[in-house]
Every structure is written in C-alpha cells, then in structure tokens.
C-alpha cells in the first residue's frame, strides 16, 4: 500500500521535473535565438543616418534634384505655377490612387514636392528628374521598366503601378533647408 502511494508520488514529481526541464530548454533556446535575429536589423550607425538635411537654395523653379536617403533616391522638385495648377486641375475621383495635390505638399510651400523616387510597381527608379529625361505623358515622371506614368504631383496616372510615389516624412528647418526622415 505504502509502496504504491510512493510510486504514484514519484511519477508526478518526475513528470513535473521533465516538463520543467523541457520548458526551460525551450525558453532558453528561444531567448538565445533573438539576439541573432535582431542582429540582422539596422545597426546603430545605419539608424544614425536615417535622417538627412538638404539645401534647397540652388534648385530653380522647374528643376529637380535627387538626394540619397536611407539608400534610396528622394526627388525634390521646385514646381512652376503651371505644374501646380495642372496637378490641382485633375478631379481626384479620376485618379488610380485618389489623393489631392494639397495633401502631398506642405502648406505654404506648394512649389516644393518631395517624393521617394521608387516606382510603386516593382521598385525601379522613374525618369524625369534630370533635364532631358522623359517626364512621361503627364509631365511628371516615367518609369522605364514597365511604363508607369506619374503626374506633376507624383501621382500614378497610367501603367501598372498601383500607388502614388510616397511622400517621406520631412520638415522645413528654414525656407531653404529641409530635413527628411
């Protein structure tokens, strides 16, 4: 009688010990895995370069420049009044990715258009920033890879790309200096 009781107790305790051992091994392995996974995320020096400042003074109306930001080109365009008007004349409802031009620029700085210059289709760099390049059918940008056309607000108007060129987070530090990121 006493013997069976004893055996029963032993059984539970052993099960508990094995379970605890297995659980700790599992937790330990998972915890050890995290540092290795996290090491693949952006390192501190990469994160430190996640913001850039750009001087806008040399950009004449009608001109655009490319700046490097987080390893990607940023298009900064000093738009003419005509280009702004064209962009704003389009009824929003007709657009593939409906968005008014006003929502894509800073208020009072309507001539400055800042865009991440990566085609929303498959990641090519659209033409149209440097003078002499094709600006596409809508006077903005044209992606040569699969023929996406963007307008003077960087919105997708024709071709396979699903979305407008994204506007990065940016702020004007002064009238001629902008901080991106």
């Amino acid at each position: 009688m006493a013997d069976t009781m004893h055996a029963g107790d032993g059984q539970t305790r052993r099960d508990f010990i094995y379970l605890a051992g297995a659980a700790m091994g599992g937790v330990g392995a998972a915890a050890a895995l995290w540092p290795f996974i996290h090491s693949l995320n952006p390192a501190a020096d990469t994160l430190a370069l996640a913001t850039i400042e750009v001087d806008l003074a040399p950009i004449q109306p009608g001109q655009a420049i490319k700046a490097m930001w987080r390893g990607k080109p940023v298009f900064i365009r000093n738009r003419t009044q005509e280009e702004i008007d064209t962009a704003r004349a389009v009824p929003t409802a007709e657009l593939i990715d409906p968005q008014p031009d006003q929502a894509r620029v800073k208020e009072g700085k309507d001539n400055w258009l800042v865009l991440v210059g990566v085609c929303t289709h498959l990641g090519c760099i659209p033409l149209g920033t440097s003078s002499g390049e094709s600006k596409g059918d809508f006077g903005g940008w044209f992606c040569p890879c699969h023929g996406s056309h963007y307008d003077t607000s960087g919105r997708i108007r024709k071709g396979p790309a699903p979305l407008n060129l994204p506007v990065p987070e940016y702020a004007f530090l002064t009238d001629t200096r902008v901080k991106i990121g």
């Binding site: 605890a20 051992g21 091994g25 330990g28 020096d45 430190a48």
Partner: protein, 261 residues
C-alpha cells in the same frame, strides 16, 4: 576518478592563466592597481559594476582639450556621447564645432561642413603618414581601443599618464624623447600631456594631474568597451537562468538514473 577530475579542473585553470602570464611587459615595472568604478574592462569579479559617467564626461573634456590634438579616436562617433550622459543638444553642439570634409558634390569637389552626431570623431591628421611626419616619425596611436590593447589595461594608462619623472642618473635619453617610469624602455616620444589645472572642469572638480589621468582613463575605458554594462547585465541573467536550468536537469537526471543504480 576523483583525482582525475581534480587534475582536469587544475588544468583548465592553468590554461586560463597561461595567456595572462604570457604578457609579462618588457623591463618596465608592473603598474600599481587602481580602483575603478567599473572594476576594469577585463575584470572578472565586477558583475554589478558600471562606469562612473561623471568621470567619463570629464575625461572626454580632457581628451578633447589635450589628447585630441595628436591622438585620433576614429572608432567613436559623436552620437556615442549620448550614452555617457551628454544631452542631444550638447552632442549636436560638440559635433557641429568640427569641420568635417565631405563630398564630392555635384561639381566633383570636396567641401567642408559642420559635423553631425552621426560623424566619426574627427582625426587630427588626414592620414597615418601626416600623423607620423608631424610627430617625429611615429604616428600617435589611435585611442579608441587603447585600454584593451595594452596589458594591465586602465592601470597601465593611468600609470603612464602619471609616470613622468626626471630620468635617473646615467639614463641616456635620446633627443625628442621623455622619461617615463612605466613605458617599456622608459623613453617615450610623447611629452608629459597632463599638467595641474591643464583643463578647467565645467563641473568644478579640481583638475589635479591624478584626477585628469583618472578621468581620461575612464573615458578611454568606456570608449574601448562601450557595451560593458549591457554585457554584465545580460550575463547575470544568463548565468542565473543556467544555474536554475542545471538544477532542474540534475534533479531530472538523478530521478531517472535512480532506477538504474
């Protein structure tokens, strides 16, 4: 069997001791051991110790005002100073005070701009040759890792900085070198860098030679091993976990094997 185990344990310890004994420094005396708030970058029994950040900040001031005219610390960035308690505005100001060469611009020309927190510490010389040429043929060593790159670590750096004396009678000191008690060979090219009140500490600490030497050594220790505190913190958790895990596995093993014996 027991004898074997003792032998093995002794062996493992001998192996661990081998490398440290292999580092007997030339003819200079062993630097006296100092007390460090963090216990030393290579100290084993300093599980809960961390850097004295007030001292590290003062040490940065000494580095900036004294050492940085000859010694680079190219592995550090200004942003790293955030980790020792400088504010973001202070770090921006420290960085912006430096003219950093950047470029090329769209015209293909290099230009200078104020430093950013993301920039590495500006080196005093454009390259190793320029550094050597300006310093009598030998470039001053980069200080980023100096505390880990010398035997006796902090103690040696402190002893060196405070070890300038007049050369003893009969010691031939070649021109351009200085006598230092703790430098291997005793003739060091670097002139005594630290003097009484050589800097004026912003926090009002009296700037004795010993104080400055201690502060700048603390700063260089932090620079050499910036992850020291994180390392020890994680280590304590890992060891605690493992000890507990080992206890459970020992119980499981005992339990299981009790039927066999």
């Amino acid at each position: 069997m027991r004898r074997l185990r003792t032998l093995l344990a002794a062996g493992a310890m001998t192996i661990a001791g081998l490398t440290s004994t292999a580092l007997a420094a030339g003819n200079a005396p062993v630097p006296p051991a100092q007390t460090w708030a963090h216990g030393g970058v290579n100290s084993f029994l300093s599980f809960f110790k961390g850097y004295d950040y007030a001292s590290v900040q003062r040490g940065f001031q000494v580095y900036k005002e004294v050492c940085s005219s000859c010694h680079a610390m190219h592995l550090l960035s200004y942003r790293n100073l955030l980790d020792v308690g400088f504010t973001e505005a202070e770090v921006k100001a420290i960085a912006a005070a430096q003219e950093i060469t950047a470029g090329p611009n769209d015209q293909g020309e290099m230009f200078t701009r104020p430093g950013l927190p993301a920039d590495r510490f500006k080196s005093p010389f454009p390259n190793a040759q320029a550094a050597a040429a300006a310093n009598g043929g030998k470039a001053p060593p980069d200080l980023s890792l100096i505390v880990k790159a010398r035997a006796h670590h902090e103690d040696y750096i402190y002893a060196l900085l405070t070890g300038y004396t007049d050369a003893p009678e009969g010691f031939e000191l070649s021109p351009g070198s200085n006598y230092n008690k703790y430098f291997p060979g005793n003739a060091i090219a670097m002139a005594q860098p630290i003097y009484e009140n050589g800097v004026t500490y912003t926090d009002g600490t009296p700037a004795t030679i010993e104080q400055q030497a201690k502060d700048v050594t603390n700063f260089m220790a932090w620079a050499a091993e910036p992850k020291l505190e994180e390392r020890r913190r994680v280590g304590i958790m890992v060891i605690l976990f493992l000890v507990f895990f080992a206890g459970i596995m020992y119980a499981a093993k005992r339990r299981l094997w009790s039927e066999v014996h």
